[in-house]
Amino acid sequence: MMVFPFMLLFAVFFLYPIASGLFYSFHDWNATTSTRFVGLGNYQRILASRDFEKAMWNLGKYIAITVPLGISVAFGLALLVNSFKGFWSNIFRSAFFLPVVLPAFLAATVWRWIYTPNFGLLNMILGWFGMGSINFLNDTGTMLYAAIAVDVWVSAGFNMVIILAGLKNIPKDYYEAARLDGASRLQQVRYITIPMLYPVLFFVTTYGFISALQVFDVPWLLTGSSFASYGGRQGALLFPVMDMMGRGFGSLRFGQAAAYGFILTAIIMLFTAAMFALRRKGYDR
Amino acid sequence: MAQLEITNVSKSYGAVNVLKNINLEISSGEFVVFVGPSGCGKSTLLRMISGLEDIGTGQIRLNGQVVNAVDPARRGVAMVFQSYALYPHMTAFENMAFSLMIAKEKKARIKEKVERAANILRLEHLLQRRPGELSGGQKQRVAIGRAIVREPKVFLFDEPLSNLDTELRVQMRAELIQLHDKLKTTMIYVTHDQVEAMTLADKMVVMHGGVIQQCGRPLDLYDDPANKFVAGFIGSPRMNFMDADVARVESDHITLAVTGALKQFDLPFRGFDSSLRKVQVGIRTEYVGLSEDADSAVSLPATVAFVEELGDVTYMHTDLPNGERLVVRSNGGRYRGGKECVAQLDTTGILLFDEAGERIRSAS
């Protein structure tokens, strides 16, 4: 049976970790002392912690902005690229897609330099307009937005490509029929493009939610975090996965970290389920 | 001796019986065609012979050996698929050589065999092309070549011509006949096209509903069908069927009253089961003509519904007063308009069927 190697690895490195994670999550365990059963203690401690509250609050704000903004931008880019033909369509598509190719760790570091106070590129441009230097990554008022900007910059191209494929799948006949029916360009987008793209937009949105809930690399690197200190000034860029990793590898409380993982999963599952329920409602209508 | 024997073979998918108690013998060198409407089980039977489908119950013997459990590749059969199933990433040569390569034949031997097959099929100049660069007919020939190279005991063809256009189909049909003459290997061919079956077959096996309706030489089936299904399936246009009452039964003839006919008529028949009161009369269009005078033997007044004019023959589709359709054939004569006509039956062409559709034959 040629499925065996895959299933073996899958069982060992996916199923077993989940099961053992569940076990750890009910135990106090720090990799050195022996395990002690604590029941829901880990979960309670996490839910009651200030960091968790802060991380969730940041995450809420972050998602509320990133997901709609990212998808609107991606949709706009896709429409824009699609409105060009041939060569220029390819050029713009490649240009808009380029940031996706960059590893997230690089995107974050490059942007860190762009955000640098005083001599950073962005502040320099602001300087031309007579504005004072802003310490984007150390000012609790701007940090979150700076991270969101990077994230949209990184992910818009990815979603754009998926939406573009969806656009290409819409038969030309519909647009021609609509033009004969006298629909304007905007009406064509409203009455043909968006409804026909519904499944694709649904996928992109759901996927966007799921990955936004797990945001880690970009804020971690933007804030120059390490396991000793992470989340940026006053935890303004503290997110749940960072919090989880910190509890695990920073303070070696692996039981809590495992429990954290399950809390996050529960949230993600809830979100996904809600999305699918919404979609079903959309279809019924 | 029969080369291929199929005994008591049945097959079902869940509650659906695809094949019911199939018995068939095929002799070496025969060109056998399984024909029937889609879903009649003909492809399933072919695939069971090939080994791609498990044999449900019953046995299939090849050269006297039961092959039920023999691996498809070891049965000595080769198959040509409807989709050709050529490997798109290999050239025509590699496609034909594939089975030999798997069998670890020597390179030189492979080359020789493939080239011989290519020669038979006039493919020499195409051997380096990939399937994507070949036309439909060429692909078809490569697919046949792939089968030839294996030197099988039996060739299996699964509707191989149905993806070709009409003209190419006629041409490939002729080539297949020549190929069979040349190779003299047993060929089993599945099609839903009765014209294809008639032109190709030494032996024709008509299937319907998972049952063999009749098998034999094409013209025997045409002239002497075993039941209404075979009678109706073979021949174009379709055989006409009409209801008739049995008015009288004598020792050497019966008298029939065809619904709508102006008069009763006598039909020579021996040993008619006198308990039958109603029969169905089947008559091919070539036995139905137009009558000038309404007095001749069996005449039916009819209304012309539409006319197919093919030049050499004209088929008039007419409606009988009871609503049944009767197709009248006129050789040479052209349609001159007009709605009402009188159809005339040549009673020598009449076949009788009972109400279940089984043929009623005269005792000889």
């Binding site: 049976m1 040629m2 499925v3 895959f6 299933m7 690895l9 490195f13 077993y16 989940i18 994670g21 750890y24 990799a31 690229v81 060009f84 713009f92 240009a95 808009f96 940031p99 190719v101 960059l102 590893p103 760790f105 570091t109 490059v110 001599f119 590129l121 320099m124 494929a165 969806g166 033009r179 004969l180 029916d181 006298g182 629909a183 304007s184 009406q187 694709v200 799921i210 797990q214 880690f216 690197l221 120059g224 989880m244 990793m245 495992a258 999963t265 996904t272 | 080994g51 791609l52 498809p72 590749a73 698929f81 409807q82 199933a85 050529l86 594939f98 089975s99 798997i102 069998a103 792939r146």
Partner: protein, 293 residues
Amino acid sequence: MTAEAITAYSNPARAVALPFSGWALLKWITAACIAIVAVFPIWWMVNVVFAEPGTPVSLNPRLYPTSFSAGISKILMIMQETDYMKAYYVSVAYSLLTIAGVLIIGSMAAFEFALFEFPGKRILFATVMLSLMVPTAVTIIPTYLLTASLGWLNTMQGLVVPGLASAFGLFMLIQFMKTIPRDMIEAARLDGASHFQLYRYIALPLSKNALVTLAILTFMKTWGNFMWPLIVAPSPELYTVGQVVGLFNSPYSHQTVDIVMTANLLAALPPLLFFLIFQRKIVEGIAMSGSKG
């Protein structure tokens, strides 16, 4: 069809193509501006590297490369005087091994899933697909602990092996292999091909496109993977490019902007090159994962 779309029926005259108008101009300007925003940070990185060191960015905004030789010397300096090359090797080995593993293991499993029936197939498939929904967050810590207890911390197998059972890759390959016609497989069986030969001579060559796409996507993902190497291979011996770049960028790094950007540029180079070469495959691969997901 909505009411508006139906009532709009009476105005066919608008179907005439618009001339080169304000619309088109606006479109071009927007597209160009966004393209600049998208590309400029990368371009800027290049410029910083290929410029004389020392001038502060505020004086020299680095809108274009100024000194080719300065760039080369920085690259050489990084390669010779730091452990960057070693990290490069580690990253390349990590990526290549992962690609090879994912392709081999995934294609073998996809072959069975896509083309054959076997007991338990539906349950196995459902489990694997469900795993696509499970966030990395829940598995990363237990997987780390498992890897640690296997004694694989700071080893290449620790980096590679846990990532080989890629559900995404399996899904993609299954989707692709499902399109292989049944006839093709049966023809090969009649030609005498064994189960493994079917895989080797039919399924694999026919899935070449999907395999290449998956290889590229896997490369991008592995090269850019930051979190897993960070925790599983924290020793300098097995630093990946991502970690080294992180070090260069860390607040305690003593490197200048130029050097840091050079490190960044070198890290970006392989994916950028891949993108330039395989652009179509990458875009198709992502589009496919989206439309089928």
